[in-house]
Symmetry: C2
Amino acid sequence: MRGRNPFDGKPQLTLRDVAEAAGVSEMTVSRVLRNRGDVSDRTRVRVFEAARELGYVPNKIAGALASNRVNLVGVVIPSLSNMVFPDILGGIGKMLDDTPLQPVIGTSHYDPDTEEKVIYEMLSWRPSGLIVAGLEHTTAARAMMRNAGIPVVEVMDVDGDPVAAAVGISHIRAGQDMAREIIARGYRRIGYLGSGSGGDHRARKRLEGFRKGLDEAGVALADSCFYEGMSGFGTGRKMTAEMLTRLPDLDFLYYNTDMNAAGGLLYCLENGMRIPDDIGLAGFNSFDVLDGLPMRIATMDSCRTEIGAKAAELIAANALSDALIALEPTFLEGETVRPRA
Amino acid sequence: MRGRNPFDGKPQLTLRDVAEAAGVSEMTVSRVLRNRGDVSDRTRVRVFEAARELGYVPNKIAGALASNRVNLVGVVIPSLSNMVFPDILGGIGKMLDDTPLQPVIGTSHYDPDTEEKVIYEMLSWRPSGLIVAGLEHTTAARAMMRNAGIPVVEVMDVDGDPVAAAVGISHIRAGQDMAREIIARGYRRIGYLGSGSGGDHRARKRLEGFRKGLDEAGVALADSCFYEGMSGFGTGRKMTAEMLTRLPDLDFLYYNTDMNAAGGLLYCLENGMRIPDDIGLAGFNSFDVLDGLPMRIATMDSCRTEIGAKAAELIAANALSDALIALEPTFLEGETVRPRA
DNA sequence: CTGAAAGCGCTAACAT
DNA sequence: ATGTTAGCGCTTTCAG
């Protein structure tokens, strides 16, 4: 019993056990269980029966080492509690369902050093590919990804310098386009509410683009408000109350995400503001769960599922490519902005 | 170049490469990289430097095979798009952060056969433990878990027959307690809205308990409404509209989840109903994001984070236990029910 | 169609 | 404090 974990109940079943039970060689069992090569129907049946009877579960660790093939795709995202990331995973999962590949998820909690560690852990399993959210990583993480020798795809963002392939949208453009829409609809006293500091580079870039868009029209951002912690109705409501108390004459509020915008919407409605005339609102992401709010919030689709799917497609194709795929986010007017002038 | 994946760019770096660069044996490198055994500071530094310089990333596949130790914990849940599951994962993750263990997530899409396959895949990686949502599995899945020889914990539910350990709440009790609260507050014409069919066994059990609770008071469920697909504001709103059109004299609506209850709340408020006097509402789960709705919905805490943490704790303790840990969900009154009579 | 031999990259156990 | 040896369970390769 060499090197066996002291807690192991029973020694693990091996190919050898199945081979003995079926009266064939290990090799034949291996072939049957992987549907590889020619095996006579008679032996095939015998092997399957023996395996089932014994309750044999193949050891992928050994298989992977021997074949140098690991059908895993590492996916590194900041968090699971922000709904955007599960959506990305949904797109990845759906695409990989048609392949032998399986996603393995790691989370970085928006911390670059944690991300570096998670990427290292992932790579140490020698996966068939790696998908990482965002373009901002530590130098060491970038080096690891560059030298991994497997397809690597950075997702969600294209404003920056990808290590290899990238699939996403330009958040700078998204912010800029939103600013143009708002300006074209006659709003001028505009506030921004959301996360602008810390780890959320994409929100920061949207704000950057937004400022640029306003600038084109000679409009300056009237106010901005940032928060720490999770987005949600409470956060949106609180920020909105604060800002409108400070500057009651604002006529537009742009939020970093629909979740916060929803809180703001509820606040405005409760306080008798006329939307979209007195004040307009817009968010970002387009979340299905929010269909059913008193008004549909103006937003921009962040193409999450499509991004996940495209990234998975690149991995599945096993191309060590450096393709840059920029998806076009579409403005969704909703009911919280005036029609275009 | 035996057995090498044709797509591999460069041959992978091995311990041997680092050993040569540092002028020591493979074994010494292995020891340094794992902080095991005594190594002189001089060699330690040399080894680290060589490893860093070369960009060596250890091969966990080989390490796991040799040591018969895999620091992975399989977690099988129905989906990531329902927020309850990320919360469970949060609890697991936080607890495992203090250990060398890492969670690996698999999703079953509420399908028992898919779940069976996912469990099989998980076990074939020989993880250190397995956490599975729910108590309902295929016979084969149950057999695999029983024979896995690793700690297995079923989570979220304790109403049934666990394979090994279980951590969760009694959803029958949760439904029953909610019924009692509602009855005690004087509501009598009560409708249920939610998923009762299909894969959501826990919602089904809550309804079962709810019926039992009403029964105790001689009250029958006045109406029920079930939906297919995702919960959300739109779904809650639609079901509510339907039910209240059918039976305008209902005085209470019990939802399978807060997400649907939120949609119902918004519908009722818009239609000028007086909550909680004309009509009361209650949901289930207690989601933070919903703080900030016009009213706090009466709900019951489903102890998600705690369940995840406790399950992870059992795995980390590496006990092949069959402990049954039933957590106590607490009723949260909110603002959508009348005070107790 | 089936089997035998060799070895994947690493670590446990036993030297020294 | 460091090295040597012998596998882990499987798959590739080659031989029948």
